[in-house]
Symmetry: C2
Subunit: 463 residues, 2 copies
């Protein structure tokens, strides 16, 4: 024991010779790095009620089985068309709801009979998860799978629990848990490597009477993002479905789970902790910003509905969302809604293309760019230019280190403040009224460990 103590003292001393803060910061896994690098994640929602010709009513649909599952008949299904549209927008990951709240599974399950095996479409042999994953591979998009087990209107599962009040319900709960584990086994083992397995609304772990989905995930997808159950989350919900998070939103968090546990702490002040994270949190778990593309003008449509194009976000709204999600150190999860024909509607496809083009146009060609370590980085322009966007990126492989920083621009009358901030993390985008500058300076006021800036870019965008 004495030897060990001595060794520890030596280590602390060596560490102490750096001038930076001594506290180690949590570091992301490779999966988390990949996830944050992806930045834009599409989530395709598809379920039986897309075919019922009615407006989606989540509160009703999750407790009312669809009368006839054979309404599921996407005669023109073309997942290539879905994925190409996502690719055009710049998405790097695409997720499909293999099951949502009806409990109906969009693949050939051997444990859940309420699946594509049951329908007449494609004579019961359809596998949309397979089609989807194949299309993703074809277009160089990383596929992910969304599994809803919290609700199941067919089997009778209400907020994780099999409805009922006696031993019969307990037996069916045990069966349902096995069924969920079986679906996770199928979905994590039969479709290759997946970027993410997304349990919507989370999953109860065994300690709360739920299935043991985590061990199945860990066995089959050791390199994927797990989101989420009462035990673990690799990313956290960003506390709204607005597609944005407020600034600052730290990539670290005090718990190993997102919001399936500790609701009383996590939900208070309008989900403040989920939105903001905690700069001293022990767990690396960046937030995500989620919203449906059809979320404008009073709409908030995760599923396709007839005559709903008015809810597609305008381009400028999407750009603002991009800045306040990707540019606020989170991934942007955008909900896309294939229709009853099996296609992503033309209007949505067009908007995604416009949006992808605009992101490229605005951020594709920096006027100047640098990187480096230390407290101060100066970006000198070859000539004075009208700057209106700055992007900063830490090398988060080494953890989020910056705690406070200042951006200044050198004008003809000297250095002027541009922004005083805290989080940089994976990416910080600052959009501002254009300034005529010859240099831009980043000064790190406070950090844990030496700041490592992977990228410092300035832009002269059209808008």
């Amino acid at each position: 024991m004495k030897k060990l103590r001595l060794l520890l003292l030596v280590c602390l001393w060596i560490h102490g010779i750096h001038s930076w803060g001594q506290t180690e910061v949590p570091r992301p896994t490779q999966a988390q790095l990949d996830w944050q690098d992806a930045e834009l994640v599409a989530v395709f929602h598809y379920d039986l009620h897309v075919f019922d010709g009615k407006a989606y009513n989540q509160a009703k649909n999750r407790i009312t089985p669809i009368p006839d599952y054979n309404i599921f008949n996407p005669t023109q299904l073309d997942t290539d068309q879905w994925i190409k549209a996502a690719k055009d927008a710049g998405f790097k990951i695409a997720i499909l709801t293999a099951t949502h709240e009806t409990g109906f599974a969009l693949y050939q399950s051997e444990v859940n009979p309420y699946s594509l095996k049951a329908v007449s479409w494609r004579e019961g042999t359809g596998d949309i998860v397979r089609d989807f994953v194949n299309s993703c591979r074809k277009y160089g998009i990383a596929p992910g799978i969304y599994i809803g087990i919290r609700w199941n209107s067919f089997f009778g599962v209400h907020d994780f629990k099999v409805n009922g009040d006696n031993g019969f319900a307990a037996n069916r709960q045990a069966y349902y848990n096995k069924m969920c584990e079986g679906m996770v086994e199928e979905l994590t083992s039969q479709y290759g490597e997946l970027a993410i397995i997304w349990f919507d609304g989370g999953a109860h772990g065994p300690e709360k009477g739920g299935p043991d989905v985590l061990s199945v995930f860990e066995k089959n997808q050791p390199n994927g993002i797990f989101y989420h159950n009462t035990q673990r989350a690799d990313i956290r919900w960003g506390g709204s479905e607005s597609g944005t998070v407020p600034y600052p939103s730290w990539g670290t968090y005090p718990f190993p789970y997102s919001h399936a546990t500790n609701g009383e702490v996590v939900f208070k002040n309008d989900f403040q902790l989920l939105k903001e994270g905690d700069p001293n949190g022990k767990y690396y778990m960046p937030a995500m910003s989620d919203a449906p593309l059809r979320g404008y003008n009073g709409g908030h449509e995760w599923f396709w509905e007839p005559d709903d194009e008015k809810h597609i976000f305008p381009l400028e709204h999407l750009m603002d969302m991009y800045t306040r999600s990707v540019g606020h150190n989170t991934s942007l999860i955008l909900g896309l809604t294939p229709n009853a024909d099996g296609l992503l509607p033309e209007e949505d496809v067009r908007r995604l293309k416009e949006w992808g083009d605009e992101i490229k146009s605005r951020f594709g060609s920096p006027l100047a760019e640098t990187s480096g370590t230390g407290n101060s980085l100066i970006l000198k322009l070859t000539k004075k230019a009208k700057i209106n966007h700055i992007i900063l990126q830490e090398d988060i492989a080494q953890g989020e280190r910056v705690r406070a920083f200042v951006l200044e621009g050198k004008t003809s009358t000297g250095w002027k403040p541009i922004f005083e901030g805290s989080v940089i993390g994976h990416k910080f985008i600052h959009a501002f009224e254009e300034m005529n500058l010859s240099e831009v300076r980043l000064t790190i006021k406070e950090s844990k460990g030496e700041p490592i800036l992977k990228s410092f870019k300035v832009f002269q965008s059209n808008r």
Copy 2:
């Protein structure tokens, strides 16, 4: 009104000139006549738990879903073999459990996903109801279908009710009712004419929150036997699962339903009313005697289980059962149990063949036979013979008319009493210690309307 009264008096007077009782007796439908003529009805039970390698535990199985429905894998399924075995025993009708208490459907349902579509066996295209019906047609057996909707361990239905306690359960009940109506629609419309649709444990009618299965049956199978729901039954349960009813068992009954309604009346005194019926009952509704073939020696096995051959009834027991079921004015419903290979086990096949041979041997060749109307029928033998069985049959197309009768035999010392009875109905078999007789006399002591004896036979059987 005066004219009508006069007419009525004339009619009563005309009717009055007959010496027989004036009360009309209920008459069977053609379906009921066919049913009683069939006499022997096989019911094949087949469900998921046949494949679990365990002893069947009904109380457990009806509330505990089978963990893996892909255990259903009858690699040697041969319904021809089943039906040939039934044919050899003399069965005229064969019924298959299209669904039993697990809720799993042995056909290609479009409304119940928990069906043969879900399993790997035959790549999800198997249809055992189709195979079964085809085999029946091939062997000249009338097919019937058994549907269990009272229990569904998968969907969570407990004694007709979707388990649960709120609006969610009510929504699923509505869904389940539609699903049941849909299954009845499929099963009554896709397999041709059926001898019977058998709802095990009955069906709740809409007035008790159940599905409206009766109108579907009436639309698609107007010539079949309906058994049974809270509204209607064409036959009644015989009050035990012993394969027998006590004597007398009248073919008439005071209610239009068997035992799905009025339980407090029907169940008392150990199901006395179900067993005995009511000679003054307004409804023609003969009892049935049901038992599984594997019901001997402490067994009572409606489903195949491993190592269960010891429970197969011995031949003599089956013959006694035959006499006290078919010979007591009821049909005998015998449960047969295909195994996990998909075959009726050899021992069962052999016993059925022996039994059919013995029935033919004992009752195939009467020593003498007559028929006729009126109070007295005498059967003269060509020479004195040792008689030990008598069979009487009324022409029940005209209703059960006999209320009391006496059988006597003429010995060398004069007429001796053989039996004093009440019901004859479709068939009365009397087995007795052999008597050396030259004539046998039937005297009807009491009847409603003129007695019509379709058949009066005596036998000198080997035993």
